[in-house]
Chain length 144, copies 2
DNA sequence: TTGGCAGTTGCGAACTTTTGCAACTGCGGT
DNA sequence: ACCGCAGTTGCAAAAGTTCGCAACTGCCAA
């Protein structure tokens, strides 16, 4: 079984269509530890199937993001990147605006926030993936 | 005194250059209660000064966002919008993915999250503006 | 008050992302 | 196993965003 099979099951259960293009995009992102840009996903998919169009990749990553099986990373001055949302390893990102370091924030640390929003606003937040900016410990020490 | 004067003071204190273009973009966004797209900002600025280029608007909103005096709203299927970050009225947004309703979340509700990140990761989050998605109370009642 | 220059601007061109549309296809119902 | 069609795809063209560069200008220092 491949590492994206849980995501595929999740899509099937949602009753959405599972096309080869979607499976290939999912595979490209899940079989990669880092974060892939749209172009990089396109390259990888084309190695398997050369006629998949870039616009399909755009539509597909948007779709997979909305389905909650991939997360989007949007950092100033960098192309948008996508990464797998792996069951049991859900996390968010904190990026240092000084040195660019990226810290992974465990999902459980967001639980408090989620509770507050439910209690105070009745809002059920969808905390699939979030990117925060700020300053890491090292950079605070240098220039507080 | 105009309502963006505090933001202007903040920029001056940061030691960045305060050009007429920047002042006009700031004015357009601060003299508006809603959220303006880049094009709308451009239109308003051009009414004052017709030769300001769209690319300048793009560069300026990015700059003002990084300075923390305006916030960015990025909703799927809509153009990116910008709004004033008013002193004492800082807030974040929660958007319902079902009905599109937008709730303003008070900044103090994020304090807990900020504390956790500082304690656990030593990371000083910059909570200028955040957009969360999820489901509002009404839509949860209809389709839980 | 003025001079110098690092940072900003307008313009054009490149690049990225979205969209309209006709052809195609996954998948539920028969 | 096959059918029908809502949803998806590839393509091409449009729209949105960024970039390179020469000219310009806030703002600091003298």
């Amino acid at each position: 079984m491949s590492c994206e099979s849980r995501a595929i099951d999740q899509l099937r259960e949602s009753g959405v269509r599972l096309t080869p293009q979607r499976a290939m995009v999912l595979e490209a992102i899940y079989h990669n530890d880092g974060h892939l840009s749209v172009d990089e996903v396109h390259e990888r998919v084309q190695q398997q199937s050369p006629y998949v169009d870039l616009s399909t990749i755009y539509r597909t990553v948007m779709f997979l993001k909305q389905q909650g099986v991939i997360g989007e990373l949007r950092l100033d001055g960098q192309p948008v990147r996508y990464e797998a949302v792996r069951y049991g390893k859900e996390h968010h990102h904190a990026v240092c605006s000084t040195c660019g370091a990226m810290i992974e924030i465990d999902s459980v640390d967001m639980q408090e926030l989620s509770d507050i929003l439910t209690q105070k606003y009745g809002f059920a937040v969808n905390l699939i993936h979030l990117t925060l900016t700020g300053q890491c410990a090292a950079c605070q020490a240098i220039s507080p």
